[in-house]
Amino acid sequence: MSAPESADSIAGHTARSLGMVSCHECGLLVRADPEGGLACPRCHVRLHSRKIDSLSRCWALLLAAAVLYVPANVFPIMTTTYFGAAQSDTIMSGVIYLMQTEWPLAVIVFTASVMVPLVKLFVLAYLAWSVRVGSTSNPGDRTRLFRVIDAIGRWSMVDIYVVTILVALVRVQALANVHAEIGAVFFGAVVVTTILAAQAFDPRLIWDSAEAAQARKEARASAEAGGLPNGNLA
């Protein structure tokens, strides 16, 4: 694999500032129709410069995930019956059990099931907030942060798969069996909603809001330097 090299940009312009739209499906760069409502000439999907209602969809899904996170951790995800003795396990008690036997796996499961959904919630909320307030600090780092968050979400599925495997494997009628419990349903819903929340977030908004805030700051500075009689600007 050859080392990635930078392609030259057109003097640092965004497609939007050039009056163009990049198709979200096929990547074709198309001159935007001032009326809006243009279809991509290559793949025929409706073009839009930014994901539609990105921030409100992201907030709604984050809120849903945060609410679902509570029952996902409080309720048991499965019940194991072994020679007549039933034992219910939550996500956390499963981690504690693993810690006593194979601690490296306990670390993996704790990270994937407990940390990843929480970190995703907080980081996406931070990113959406930073766009809302027009933060200008390190848009590059925030974009990279988004890429990491987007990539790790799938690993939370581990516990759902463990339940699936145990349910299929341990079914020796009265002697031993495993039942999936309601906590697993909530947990699956958390995983899906956080993945959808990451998909709803448009990282280009990070750059839009940083540029807009920068432009406001410069306009204010030049207004002050020009000595315009407007005290409200300061």
Partner: protein, 201 residues
């Protein structure tokens, strides 16, 4: 050398990139997002991996990946038996989620790759290529086989002191399939295939 203009997917900055320069890749100068990645013989390499992946996928689904031996009573599990048992326990939503992420999405991913790459290798544009490329991206996002493999390891440890757990032939297919899928994703040149779709005036 031909060129085209593309905007960075993550920050919208427009770049001029080379077209048809195998072995070259480029990242956005502002945010580091991948702009293009043209692998040498991308179609042939991805096709080879997709064929291998399809065979492994069938093996991984037909044969059991774990057997559970408790006092001579043996239960075996395949991917689909897990989905079926969850369904029987009235866990339809979880059953559906596992079916999509561990069976349907990776299976469709491999099928679509074969459907797109066989004609592309023969120098023809596949029928309905635009639709297939769009579908492929959807299925890729929900295909989570590598996570399932970790799930198998965790299940192995949890059951270790309950009974004898014997890894089945499918477990090895799983492990190799994950490497093959990752390789196919790395050699696949999406932008190059989109260029086969005509742009209407």
């Amino acid at each position: 050398m031909s060129e085209e203009f593309v905007a960075c997917h993550d920050c919208d900055l427009v770049h001029r990139i080379p077209v048809g320069q195998e072995g070259r890749s480029g990242r956005c100068i502002r945010c580091g997002g991948v702009l293009f990645n043209e692998k040498r013989n991308s179609v042939e390499r991805t096709l080879a991996l997709a064929v291998a992946g399809a065979v492994l996928f069938v093996v991984a689904n037909v044969f059991p990946f774990l057997s559970f031996d408790m006092q001579g009573r043996v239960t075996e599990t395949t991917l689909l038996s897990g989905v079926r048992e969850l369904w029987n326990q009235d866990m339809g939503s979880i059953s559906f989620l596992v079916l999509i992420t561990a069976v349907v999405a990776p299976g469709m991913q491999l099928l679509l790759l074969l459907y797109i790459l066989v004609p592309a290798h023969l120098g023809r544009a596949p029928h309905q290529l635009s639709l297939c490329l769009r579908l492929l991206r959807r299925f890729e996002a929900w295909s989570m086989m590598e996570v399932f493999l970790i799930g198998i390891f965790v299940a192995l440890v949890k059951l270790g002191d309950l009974a004898d757990i014997v890894p089945g032939p499918a477990i090895f297919s799983f492990a190799i399939l994950i490497l093959v899928l990752a390789g196919a994703a790395a050699t696949f040149d999406r932008r190059g295939l989109w260029r086969l779709v005509p742009v209407s005036a």
